[in-house]
Structures are given as C-alpha cells and as structure tokens.
C-alpha cells in the first residue's frame, strides 16, 4: 500500500533543480507532500487534488496525474533551506483521511 518514491536521495548545489516522484498502485483521490528536517516533525507543503492540478509554494511546485496514479514535486533554484526528507502521502478517498506515506526522498543542498 505504500507509494514508491524516487529517487531515494538527491544531492544538489544551491540554485539547481530537482524532481521527486511518487507512484501508487492504487487509485488516488489526492496527494499530500510534506518535508521533514532532521529531528523535527513533518511539515505540510501542499495538497494536490484530482484533476491534474498543479500547485506552487514559493519555488516548489507539484503535479498530480490521477490516471497514472503519480505525483511529482518540482524544486526550482534550490535553496539551503530545502534540505530535508520529502514524503508523499497519497490519499485514497475512502479511507477516512488516512495517508499512506512513502519512505521519503532525502534532499541535501550544498552551498
């Protein structure tokens, strides 16, 4: 039931771009994205609802293709503050708010 995230880890220089992918084997209602810094709680980034909607948060945006059951997170012109582990949490609609989190993608941004 867990989604598959790729890549598992990314190392970037400040200003470079990255894409994190999330795939599910089940039909999806929405996808949540969270970022977690070491030793801290996950922090919400955005929710993508059905319809292929693309949303943005500063220079971070995401897309959701419900037919392919995939979502991608785009980090543009990365900043040092983007470092952390990114989790996708697909929502299957009928499961009363339950999210099935992936194992995460560890992003490290160097100056």
């Amino acid at each position: 039931q867990q989604p598959v995230q790729s890549p598992q880890a990314v190392i970037l220089r400040e200003g470079e771009d990255a894409v994190i992918n999330c795939s599910s084997s089940k039909a999806l209602y929405s996808v949540h994205w969270y970022r977690q810094k070491h030793g801290e709680a996950p922090v919400f980034l955005m929710i993508l609802l059905k319809g292929g909607e693309q949303k943005g948060h500063d220079k971070i945006s995401a897309s959701f293709n419900e037919k392919k059951q995939q979502s991608s997170l785009y980090l543009t012109a990365s900043q040092l503050s983007y470092s952390g582990t990114y989790f996708c949490g697909p929502h299957r609609g009928s499961t009363l708010g339950r999210l099935y989190f992936g194992r995460g993608t560890q992003l490290t941004v160097w100056p």
Partner: protein, 111 residues
Amino acid sequence: NAGVTQTPKFRILKIGQSMTLQCTQDMNHNYMYWYRQDPGMGLKLIYYSVGAGITDKGEVPNGYNVSRSTTEDFPLRLELAAPSQTSVYFCASTDRNQPQHFGDGTRLSIL
C-alpha cells in the same frame, strides 16, 4: 496557537514496562493519528480515530492500544514494552481534505 501537543518528548523504558504517550489538539479536528518512524524510514500508521469513541487499527497496531474519549485527546498506550518499539512517535490531526498537523514527537527508547 498550540496545535498538536505531545508529551513526553523523551522517555526511556525498560523491557516489559508500560506507558502512555499523550496527544492533545486544540483545533477541534475530528481525525487523529498515531505514527511511528524508525530511523531512515517513513511514517507507519499505528492507530487512527475519526471522532470521539471511534478508533481503528492502522498498519502496525500490535503492542499498542488507543482510546478517544474526547475530541481533543488521543493517548497511545504501550503494554509490555519491547526493544522493537524503540522509535519516534508522532501524533497528527486533521479534518477531511486538510493537511495533517503533526506534534513534535516523542522519542522512545526501550532497553
């Protein structure tokens, strides 16, 4: 705004001991969740609740119990602690189609 409050923040238990992890939210959310996160891994759902008096098992419920007597509180009980339960525990709350709000976590070691 307090959000989701977890206590204690750290705890060391001996094998076979029991304890209760406390979680309180002040956002009047119906849905509440308990996750555990092992090092380098994603979040695994232990138990969840969709309202006072209603709870259900998640992916890894063995060795744990919960209750939800009020909208605000969702305590997690560990009976007969085992080393495999060493982990970081996060409580979260939400309403439908909203982000999950996480507490700061409880770091639990069982020796």
